[in-house]
Symmetry: C2
Subunit: 478 residues, 2 copies
C-alpha cells in the first residue's frame, strides 16, 4: 500500500504535464525550494547529474583547445552599458549591488547575467598582437537573471552554466568556432543526454542581444514543446569596436578582432526530465546517471543475501558501473518504485532463491523489461545493457520527435496544426519579422531556428504568401 501511495503521488503526464514535471523534480529529490524567491537548491541527486554533464562536456571542450578561466561575478554598470544592444537586452533583468559592507558603492554593479562585457574588458588587456590570438576561454559559473516567472531547471533567477568566450584574428575563424561549438553541443546532446536536436540559426528577432548570428540546438519535449538547449553566437567585431579592442596583425596594421560566445545551462537537466521521463518518474540516460545500477536484495535479513549483493556490487564496480545497494529497511516494492522514480537505468534483484539457482533478475528502467541472468554474467550483462539503454533512449526520443514534427505549406495547415497538435511545424518563411510577429501574437508560436539542413517545401511564406527565403522550425517553447 505504501508503494502504491508513492507511485500514485505523481500526476500523470497526460493529465497535467506541468504538474507531472514539478512532481518528478521534487519526488526524484533533484531540487528544493528556498527562502530566496525564484532560486532553488540543487540537492545531491540533482547536482550529481550536473557534475556528470560538466565532466563530459568539459573533456570535449578541452579536446578542442578550450582553456578554463574564472572572471568576477560583478559587472560595473559602465561596462554593461558599452554595447548598446547588449545592455538593452540585459539591463531590465539584472540584480544590482549598491552597497559594499556598510557603505554605498560609488558605481553600482550587476551580478553577471552573462559575461561578454567582462571578457571584453579582460581581452582588451590581453590582446595586442596577432600572436595573442586566438584565445579560447570558458568558465563554469552561476549567473543571475531577475525573472518574474520561474520553473525548476528551466528558468530560475540564478542558474548554473558554462559560457565560452573566444577571440580571433578573422571573421572566418570566429564563424568556424561558433559552428564547431554548436556541433559539439549537438553531439553532446545526442551521445550523452540521448536527446536528438535540430541544429540551426536563429532569426534576427530571436538572436542574442549584441550578436551578428546566433545558432541553436532545439530539442522537443514529451509534451511537444520546444526547448532551446544550447546556443552559440558570432559577434563579429561589434563588441571589439564597442570596447576598443585592437591588435596589430601580421601586415602591421591595427585591426579589431572577432568574438564568439556559447553556452549551455542546467536547463539541460530539465530537458532530460521532459524528453525521457514517464509516469513512474525520471528516466536517466546511463551516461548522466549518478547511480547506473541499483541492487535490491530480497529477504535481505536472510543469511547470504547481503553478501551476494555485495559481491555483485563489486563485480559491477569492476566494470566501471556506478552502483549502489539499497539495503534500507523499506520493502522491495517500495525500493523498486523509488529506484524508478529516481530514474536509475538498471535494477538488479537478488534473493535467496535466486542465489540458490545462481541467477538474478535484471530490469531496465526505460522499458520495464525484466530478464533472468546468471550471477556470474551480471557484470557483463549490465555493462552491455547500459549501452543498449543509452542507444535505445536516443532512438526512441528521435522517433517521437520525428512523429511530432509536422510540415505545413499553407497558412490554414499551419494554424490547424498548432490548434490540434503539439510539436515542431516546418514551414517556409519570407524573412520578414512582421510575419514572425503575427504568428507569435496569433498562435503563441515562435521561430525556433532556420535548420542547417534547408529544403524548399514550398515557394511562398506560410504567413504572408510572398516568396519564401528559408525553411523554419516553428514551435511553442519553454
Amino acid at each position: 500500500m505504501a508503494d502504491k501511495k508513492q507511485v500514485e503521488a505523481i500526476t500523470s503526464m497526460e493529465e497535467d504535464f506541468a504538474q507531472w514535471y514539478t512532481d518528478v523534480v521534487k519526488k526524484a529529490d533533484l531540487i528544493d525550494y528556498t527562502s530566496v524567491k525564484g532560486c532553488m537548491v540543487f540537492k545531491p541527486a540533482g547536482y550529481a547529474i550536473w557534475e556528470l554533464i560538466q565532466k563530459q562536456m568539459d573533456e570535449r571542450f578541452k579536446a578542442t583547445g578550450v582553456e578554463n578561466v574564472y572572471l568576477p561575478m560583478f559587472i560595473p554598470e559602465r561596462l554593461l552599458e558599452k554595447e548598446k544592444d547588449h545592455v538593452e537586452g540585459f539591463a531590465p533583468e539584472v540584480a544590482w549591488v549598491t552597497h559594499g559592507g556598510l557603505a554605498p558603492l560609488q558605481e553600482r554593479m550587476c551580478v553577471r547575467p552573462t559575461s561578454e562585457t567582462l571578457f571584453c574588458d579582460f581581452y582588451k588587456n590581453e590582446v595586442h598582437s596577432y600572436r595573442d590570438l586566438p584565445k579560447v576561454y570558458n568558465q563554469w559559473c552561476s549567473v543571475v537573471r531577475w525573472e518574474k516567472e520561474t520553473r525548476p531547471f528551466l528558468r530560475s533567477r540564478e542558474f548554473l552554466w558554462q559560457e565560452g568566450h573566444t577571440i580571433h584574428a578573422t571573421m572566418e575563424e570566429a564563424e568556424q568556432r561558433t559552428i564547431q561549438m554548436l556541433n559539439l553541443y549537438a553531439d553532446f546532446a545526442e551521445e550523452v543526454l540521448a536527446i536528438p536536436v535540430i541544429k540551426g540559426r536563429k532569426t534576427d528577432k530571436e538572436k542574442f542581444a549584441g550578436a551578428e548570428a546566433t545558432y541553436t540546438i532545439e530539442a522537443l519535449m514529451h509534451d511537444g514543446k520546444a526547448l532551446q538547449s544550447g546556443t552559440s553566437h558570432n559577434f563579429g567585431d561589434g563588441f571589439a569596436k564597442a570596447f576598443d579592442i585592437q591588435f596589430t596583425d601580421k601586415d602591421n596594421t591595427l585591426k579589431h578582432p572577432f568574438q564568439t560566445s556559447w553556452g549551455t545551462t542546467t536547463r539541460l537537466i530539465g530537458a532530460i526530465i521532459m524528453v525521457h521521463g514517464d509516469d513512474n518518474g525520471l528516466v536517466l540516460p546511463p551516461k548522466v546517471a549518478p547511480v547506473q545500477a541499483v541492487i535490491v536484495p530480497i529477504r535481505q535479513q536472510q543469511e547470504g543475501v547481503l553478501e551476494a549483493a555485495g559481491r555483485i556490487k563489486e563485480a559491477l564496480t569492476g566494470k566501471g558501473i556506478r552502483v549502489k545497494i539499497d539495503d534500507t529497511d523499506k520493502s522491495p516494492g517500495w525500493k523498486f518504485a523509488e529506484a524508478e522514480m529516481r530514474g536509475i537505468p538498471v535494477r538488479v534483484e537478488i534473493g535467496p532463491k535466486d542465489i540458490e539457482a545462481g541467477k538474478a533478475i535484471i530490469a531496465r528502467r526505460d522499458t520495464g523489461e525484466k530478464t533472468e541472468c546468471a550471477i556470474d554474467a551480471l557484470a557483463d550483462t549490465a555493462a552491455a545493457l547500459l549501452d543498449t539503454i543509452q542507444h535505445d533512449m536516443l532512438e526512441r526520443a528521435r522517433a517521437r520527435r520525428d512523429m511530432q514534427t509536422y510540415t505545413a505549406t499553407t497558412k490554414e495547415e499551419f494554424e490547424k496544426l498548432f490548434a490540434e497538435k503539439s510539436g515542431f511545424v516546418r514551414a517556409m518563411w519570407c524573412g520578414d519579422v512582421a510575419c514572425e510577429n503575427e504568428i507569435k501574437e496569433k498562435l503563441s508560436v515562435t521561430s525556433r531556428c532556420m535548420p542547417f539542413e534547408q529544403e524548399k517545401i514550398s515557394d511562398v511564406c506560410v504567413c504572408c504568401g510572398r516568396p519564401a527565403q528559408k525553411l523554419v522550425y516553428w514551435g511553442r517553447a519553454y
Copy 2:
C-alpha cells in the same frame, strides 16, 4: 639578452617579498586585474591549478561520504540576522543587492560571504527524523567579502572555495566530522600541495563567528609569516536553535541537531607560491602542476627534432604525465626561463646531437639539477622524477618550517624572537584573551592555534606569568 631581461624582471625574495609575490603571480600568468576593484581574473594557468586542487580534494571528500549540492548565492537579510555572533562577524563585509531588474527589492539580500544560514534554512525543511541524519553536504562556489585591502589569492572581494556543511544527531558525531575534515585538509596539504601544516584549535578570540570550536591548519610561508590554510568548525547546536531545526530522535523526543562546516579556498594557490617559489618564479608540486613536463626542442628547425620531441611527448603521456612541447619561435634560453617562471616541474631538452646519441637532458625545476637520460628511458625516468620532486618539496618545506619554528619560555625571549626572526614561536598561554590582545597590540602577533600535539614547555604564560594552560603557536599572519 632577452632571456636575462625576463629573469631580471622579478624582484628577488630577499629584497622585497611582497613585490616578489606580485611579480610571480603576474609573470607566471596566473591572474590578471580587472575593472572590478578587489576582484581578479583567474587566467588559464591559475585556474588549472584550482581545477587540479578541486578534483583531488573532491575525490577525498566523496570517499568519506560527502555529497555535493548547490545553494543560492543570495541570502535574505533576515536569514543572515538569525544567529547573533554570525551576523556581527559578517554583516560589515558583505555586498548588498537592493534592486532586481528595474524595481527595488522588498528585502535586500547579500551575496553569500559563507552559507551557514542558507544551509540551516535548507536543513530545516529536510531534517525531521533521526532517519534524515546525518547529512554531509559540500558545495564548490564563489563567495564575496567586501575587503578593503586585497592581494591576489590571499584576500580578494570574490574568491573561490568549497564549503562543507553537515548536520548530525549527536555532538560526538559532529565533533568527529569536524576533526575528520581537518585531518583530510592536513593530509591533502602535505600529500598534494607538499605543504606541511600545524593542526590545532583556534582560541576563542580567533574562532569563526558562531562556532563553538574552530580547528585550523597553519602553514608557514617562505618569509616566515603564517597562512591559515583551511578551517573546520563545530557549531554545536547553536545554529539549530537559532534556526529552530529539530528532529525526532529514536527515543521519540524532539532534539536539536548538531552542525559543522569546513572550508578551503583559492588562497591555497597563494600558499603554494609562497612556500615553494624561488627567485626564478613559481615552483609547482607535480600533483597540482597543469603541465608536469615541458619538452624544449633545441634547433627545432633541423630535421627530426620536432618529430623526436613528439615521440617523447607520446611516451610521457603514456605514463599519465601532463606534458607539452614548447615549439614556439622563442630561443631555447627564453623557453627555459619561461618554463621556470611557470613552475613546470620537469624540463626535457632534446637537440640534434642528443638524438644522434640517443639521449636527452632532463632538468628538475625544484633543484635545477640536470642529468642525461637515454631517450628510451625518459618516460620512466620522468615519472619517477615527478614522484621524487613531490616528495622532496614536502621535505624541504618541512625542514625550512622547522628551522623557522622557535620556542620561547619567557616574555623577553618571546619579544626578542619576534623582533629578530620571522616564523612560528611556540610559547605557553594562560588562556586569557587579555594576553592575546596585549601580544597582538604590542607585536602584531596572533595566536595561530593550540596544536593538537600539546607539550608543556614551561609552567607559566609567556605574557602574564600566571599558570599556563596551553601551548600555542604564535605568528604574524597573512
